[in-house]
Subunit: 262 residues, 2 copies
């Protein structure tokens, strides 16, 4: 790609550390690219593929040059990608990058993640996408360990998009384990999503008005602890994981059985 248009979004919000690290890395790596950051004005964590209907989206253009645009959108991550592709960008982006998310998005968390919601919205528009997540939730965490992973993944993905070998209509869900230095990273592996779930999901409290209220909490547990070829397992072993994801949620292998029942 001579002058790619790279769209960057996230779910934590346009001011967060993760998207700043991702944007700086991309601008250094592709100095000739046009980079557009179109990201939520407010925190939109766990917004999945939610979109805004019935209320308008309001934008705030913060930087507006052909090689570098920054636009905050008062909406969800999927809204940002939808609006950018449909209205705000001068041409179809060549790739959409999302993150770096503060917190892991492995396993069934894919379905809750706004970082993945933005990436999947790109796929609906037939734009390849890569979502990056780091296994630490704190807003001020050091994400420099993600930089070599981003560079390595894109050094493979960008040529594959250009030469047409990148699979159609997928995005990549990249998770980086929490390590203190890049040397501790044991490698980057392509795998599948683990089908676990959160347990002890809520903590009850009585609020000052006497009401019982419920806070989302708990911890994520793997679906099949014996399956070592999953993102959650490998992430826990110190590998960065890559899971290709698609929009289609049809359980194709159950259709024949269901035709018998229904």
């Amino acid at each position: 790609m001579e002058k790619p248009l790279i769209l960057i979004s996230n779910d934590d919000g346009i001011g967060w550390q993760g998207i700043r690290t991702l944007t700086e890395t991309i601008r250094q790596l592709y100095p000739d690219a046009d980079v557009a950051v179109v990201a939520p004005l407010h925190h939109q964590s766990a917004k999945s593929s939610a979109i805004t209907v019935g209320m308008p989206l309001i934008i705030n253009v913060r930087h507006n040059e052909p090689h570098y645009r920054v636009i905050a959108v008062d909406g969800t991550p999927a809204d940002c990608v939808k609006l950018a592709v449909s209205k705000l960008l001068p041409r179809h982006p060549d790739i959409v990058l999302t993150g770096i998310n503060h917190g892991f998005n492995s396993g069934t968390n894919t379905i809750y993640s706004g970082t993945m919601g933005a990436a999947l919205e790109a796929v609906i528009h037939h734009v390849p996408a890569v979502a990056f997540s780091y296994s630490e939730f704190s807003p001020d965490c050091d994400m420099t360990v993600c930089v070599p992973v981003i560079k390595e993944v894109l050094s493979r993905v960008m040529p594959a998009i250009e030469n047409g070998t990148f699979p159609k209509d997928i995005c990549l869900n990249v998770n980086v384990p929490k390590v203190t230095s890049p040397d501790e990273l044991r490698g980057i592996v392509v795998t599948k999503a683990d089908m676990g779930r959160w347990v002890h999901e809520f903590e009850e409290q009585v609020d000052p008005y006497g009401r019982t209220i419920y806070w989302t909490k708990g911890h994520y547990t793997a679906g099949d602890a014996d399956d070592h070829d999953t993102d959650t397992y490998l992430l826990g072993q110190g590998y960065a994981t890559i899971v290709p994801c698609q929009v289609d949620q049809t359980a194709h292998n159950t259709i024949t059985a269901l035709k018998q029942i229904l």
Copy 2:
């Protein structure tokens, strides 16, 4: 099932016509069942699998007898199912039913739908689920045409759950076409989701403050107009459609190719 526990939720909000029609139908159909309605206090259309993090969920118990509970939750559809299964219900539900959604949820709309978000959350908790959607968006539409479809689908699904032939870890996405009488319905078919998208997605306006604002609008177009074995196509032909859906979004068939690239 001697005394099944049936959990009902939706995304339009607990007061809407669709969930009232669904609840009345279920209570008539299964007079011996325990029915629990746990649904969003506010309109949560297009909320996908979004969940509330960092803020508490507040509930409002409106009816609380063992055979019939009604609880409004100030959260998303997925929050409602999560909280009901984890905290509010006396035992694991036997099935989760969501809808009737005001508006179709065929094709890639599966990914945006809160009705489907609630059903997929049930699947994460290993509870079978059926989501019902009607192809009309208006809040006061007559949904009686959906009733025979609900009855027919559940007359097959409930025994299959009981005798263990219902496929594990899926939910059903049922769409009912807009017809004026049940006689016009051409049948109920099991099929796959269409991979289309919305076009002309936004309409611009200048608001009273001089800002350009963007409203979600447009129309949904099929991904492959020549593929007649999809929910969107068959719904347009007057069939009620059933698509089995899973939580896993891994694009398994691209893993081998990606291992070569990455």
